[in-house]
């Protein structure tokens, strides 16, 4: 296990810092234990070629997967969280932000990139789970709002890639109101007839599910992603018995009618390009 952990760390740093991966690193699938060269794993968009397990990846990787030539412009790259409530639990929120920024290299839990997908322009707001569990605070809400403004102004389709545990408790009601803010802002896209595509990845829960993640003109998800409003632990406590197999997986949510389809990450880019063209023509 420690060997695997080391390798994982190696991957994370290498993809964060630069595009090329050092030679000699191997990737071991946590699901089926299959071992493959890391560069092959990356070339497969971080999907295991044996069992199809989708590794959790971040905004940088999604932008590189989606945008032509890995080229994109980041919007509002310098936006950061303040601490409007001067929130302290076991640690000051302001220190938590600074420490997390240092540790992850991210400014907050969402980045917005503008680029082209197989020739089709697209604004993508992508969450980073590594930043306080991908929690939705004021920055996430404001970046989405400004991303939508950019889409409106330039008449470019909009996409959000969700990966979040939900609201950011340290911003309390400010965090709650980001659900209202993003949903209200999405009505403007709808009125302008600009498509909004929501991609739900592992995990998408809480206030994110109960706002923008479920509001796509097209809602899509990655295989086996955990998707729900209440977390599985809470549901289990509520009903007082074990959850059925496959509960709250993307496949379960698709079956119940809340997703349009599930997309293998290796086909994400081509599917997106196809969709964008179908909306356009």
């Amino acid at each position: 296990m420690s060997w695997f952990q080391r390798i994982k760390e190696g991957i994370t740093t290498s993809t964060n810092e630069k595009k090329e991966t050092p030679e000699g690193l191997w990737y071991k699938c946590p699901s089926c234990k299959h071992i493959a060269p890391t560069k092959d794993h990356i070339a497969r968009n971080y999907v295991c070629d044996q069992c199809g397990y989708h590794d959790r990846i971040g905004s940088q990787q999604y932008f590189e997967i989606l945008f032509d030539d890995h080229q994109f412009t980041e919007l509002d790259a310098d936006m950061i969280s303040l601490d409007p409530l001067e929130f302290t639990d076991t640690k000051k929120y302001s220190s938590r932000i600074k420490d997390t920024q240092k540790k992850t290299g991210f400014k907050d839990a969402l980045r917005t990139g503008v680029g082209v997908v197989d020739g089709e322009p697209l604004v993508v707001a992508c969450m980073d789970f590594g930043f306080i569990g991908g929690s939705m605070g004021s920055v996430v809400g404001e970046k989405i709002a400004r991303g939508i403004d950019y889409s409106l102004k330039n008449k470019i389709p909009f996409m959000i890639i969700s990966k979040s545990g939900g609201a950011r408790m340290m911003e309390a009601a400010f965090s709650l109101m980001q659900m209202a803010k993003t949903s209200a802002k999405l009505t403007l896209l709808a009125d302008a007839g600009i498509p909004y595509i929501s991609l739900l990845t592992d995990p998408t829960t809480g206030g994110v599910t109960a706002s923008y993640a479920m509001l796509g003109d097209v809602n899509i998800a990655e295989p086996k992603a955990l998707i729900g409003f209440a977390g599985p632990r809470v549901v289990k406590e509520t009903i007082g018995k074990d959850l059925p197999k496959g509960f709250q997986t993307a496949e379960f949510v698709l079956e119940h009618g809340f997703l349009d389809f599930i997309v293998d990450r290796r086909e994400l880019k081509s599917k997106m390009a196809q969709l964008l063209r179908l909306f356009k023509n």
Partner: protein, 319 residues
């Protein structure tokens, strides 16, 4: 009467007054002076106690078992000129959310609210005010009905949260709430929302997107309950008082942070101490708001509502 732990001095005085009166009846001794003195002390004690409530005490008051619930407000405000409407037209009728058409001094309004029960049986019947997806879809159906006939919408919020059950997940609790946020944001009629008790998270927000959002004085509104916040951030249930403080969930804090539009004062002792007075104040605020909002064009109304929610949040710029 039910009393909370911090209301003990009040309970004791009421008890003493009752005893004095009983003595007076039995012994035919004039106790009126003693009773009056006790009553004065009761008023003072109440005023004192309720003027400096801690956030946690307000949370407790918001859940007071004697507190009036949505239907009581609706019946009083409409003088019982109210027709309750049921069902989401898809799955079922959710008892945790009530709604219907009612009249406020001749103006027809669509009322929607979470409903809690007053007895153990009623509480279960109402699922403790925790709606399933069909509750939110029932609410949306009623809002759309109101929109169709140009009637304003008034929502009364009082919930410990959306129900976190298995079937709720199957039927898309997240989607149901999300849809309401989206549709309420662009509803073409005035929307007034009032938190009359508990305003817990997405479950409250799901009927909470309004042109005017008010909180009663002793209510709370936040992203999570103090108990759950305590268990998640401190990994213990013992920090609920602390959590209630740091969440800044009181009406005063919410107004200060401009996340609500106003506070409706409660009678001394809380809404349940003089419900009729509380109903009167809520009705007055609704009437005033609907008058103001009725003067706006549909486009202005919707634009202002969207603008208001889009301005919520605090962000900075790194160097």
């Amino acid at each position: 009467m039910n009393f909370l732990d911090f209301e003990k001095p009040v309970a004791e005085l009421i008890d003493q007054i009752e005893k004095q009166k009983l003595i007076g009846e039995k012994s035919k001794v004039d106790v009126s002076v003693a009773v009056r003195q006790l009553e004065i002390r009761l008023e003072e004690t109440r005023r004192n106690l309720y003027s400096k409530l801690t956030p946690w005490q307000k949370v407790q008051l918001s859940r007071h078992p004697d507190r009036p619930y949505s239907l009581a407000y609706i019946q009083a405000i409409t003088d019982s000129n109210f027709v309750e409407l049921f069902g989401d037209r898809t799955v079922k009728d959710d008892k945790a959310i009530v709604g219907g058409l009612g009249s406020i001094d001749g103006q027809t309004v669509m009322f929607i609210g979470q409903q809690k029960g007053t007895t153990t049986k009623q509480r279960q019947y109402r699922n403790f005010g925790m709606a399933n997806p069909e509750g939110y879809r029932k609410a949306l159906r009623l809002m759309k009905l109101a929109e169709k006939f140009g009637k304003p919408v008034v929502t009364l919020i009082d919930t410990p949260g959306a129900y976190p059950g298995l079937e709720a997940e199957e039927r898309g609790q997240g989607e149901a709430i999300a849809r309401n946020l989206f549709e309420m944001a662009r509803l073409k009629v005035p929307v007034v929302c009032i938190i009359i008790g508990e305003g817990a998270s997405g479950g409250a927000l799901g009927i909470g997107i309004g042109d005017r959002v008010f909180m009663l004085e002793n209510t709370w509104y936040s992203v999570i309950s103090p108990e759950s916040c305590s268990s998640i951030l401190w990994r213990s249930w013992d920090f609920k008082e602390k959590a209630a403080e740091v969440l800044k969930l009181t009406a005063d804090d919410m107004l200060k942070n401009r996340l609500i539009d106003g506070i409706i004062k409660e009678p001394v002792g809380g809404a349940h101490s003089r419900p009729e007075e509380m109903f009167k104040r809520v009705k007055a605020e609704i009437t005033k708001s609907l008058q103001e909002l009725g003067a706006l064009s549909t486009q202005t109304l919707v634009n202002q509502r969207i603008e208001k929610f889009c301005s919520m949040g605090v962000v900075g710029q790194s160097n």
